[in-house]
Amino acid sequence: MTNPVDPTTRPEPFQDGSLRDTLAWVLHSLDQPAVASGDWIAYEVDAKRGTAVALLTDPTTPLARLRRARILWAALRSEGERAEDRSMGSRLAIAAAAAAYLFHGERISNHDDSALLTALRSAVADDAVPAEVRLMMQMAERKLTGPIG
């Protein structure tokens, strides 16, 4: 027979909410690895909004958070471990610039109009980017090109 376990040394189970949150992000990383890495950075910047979609499509997201997110996504683009992380980092960094322009009328990247439009159109065409973010980028693209005539 084994020695009795001292229950006072056993840790208590975690709360249901903590367990759900942990399993949720682990499952998210298995289902959508690239989107998950973008979301983790969004969570770092704005835990309340928590995802790239929420951060980038909310007109009330403060400009400072979009700036910070763009910097971190750009770093994921250049230093990410996986090709899919680097690609998503690139797309979301552009998306942050688009959101800053669309919702705040501010330019937060060094792109000129032509380069920004090219990057936006490329990102909009990328199915790996969440649909809501692509829609926001299309609106930014329309704002950038301005009314015709």
């Binding site: 084994t2 376990v5 903590s18 367990l19 759900r20 990383s29 298995l30 690895p33 770093a75 996986r82």
Partner: protein, 236 residues
Amino acid sequence: MTAPSNESPAPREAAPRSSDEAAVRYWGAIYAYIRQSGRRDEEARELTQGFIADVLLGRNLLGRLDEKRGQFRTLLLSAVRNYLADVYRFNHAARRHPGDGRVIRSDDLANDALPDRQNPAPESAFHRAWISMLIRDAADAMRAECVANGRDMQWDIFESRILRPMLEGAPPPSYESLMERWNLTALSQVSNTIVSMRRSFAAHLVQGVGATVDTSPAGARGELRELMSLLEGRIQ
């Protein structure tokens, strides 16, 4: 900065190697079920110890942890449930046939430890303890791996910024304080470390879950989804 390894963690054994290890590993989930079934703390501890000695080790339940048996979690849960039913029947029979000529009082039966229906289901308590065990195992394995590979900084950033706030509600340190603590020069060193470490933690958890079901990643993912459904009350 040295990027944390993102390779799959080293294979983990399906079952604890020693009986003491098994007792420690599964104690929490077994106790949670028994306690939540209406037993008082002291009685629940004794029954937990009895189950570990008589069934888990005595009937070699651990030896049945293999692919053909499917999920060890469900096997363990039904074994605990059956054990309690056996104990109940044994106590009940002993009271009906005391064998010493004494008269049975109805109080004797009323004192039997029937499940307390006011409390959450024992199964919920079992699953919460089980998932907590898996998460702790993954964190312990990851910490050991980081320490062995000189990645203390990566572990510290992950633990202090993600794990402890998420699991214990601890306030996360700011990026600036982490940069100062580890002499980092860019915010992105912290954020990219977090991305890598989250992915590594997910791999450790999947591997730990896989060791309780079968060896395929699909089996582990299915079990993870089922655990999530159990937490959300979508299945009983």
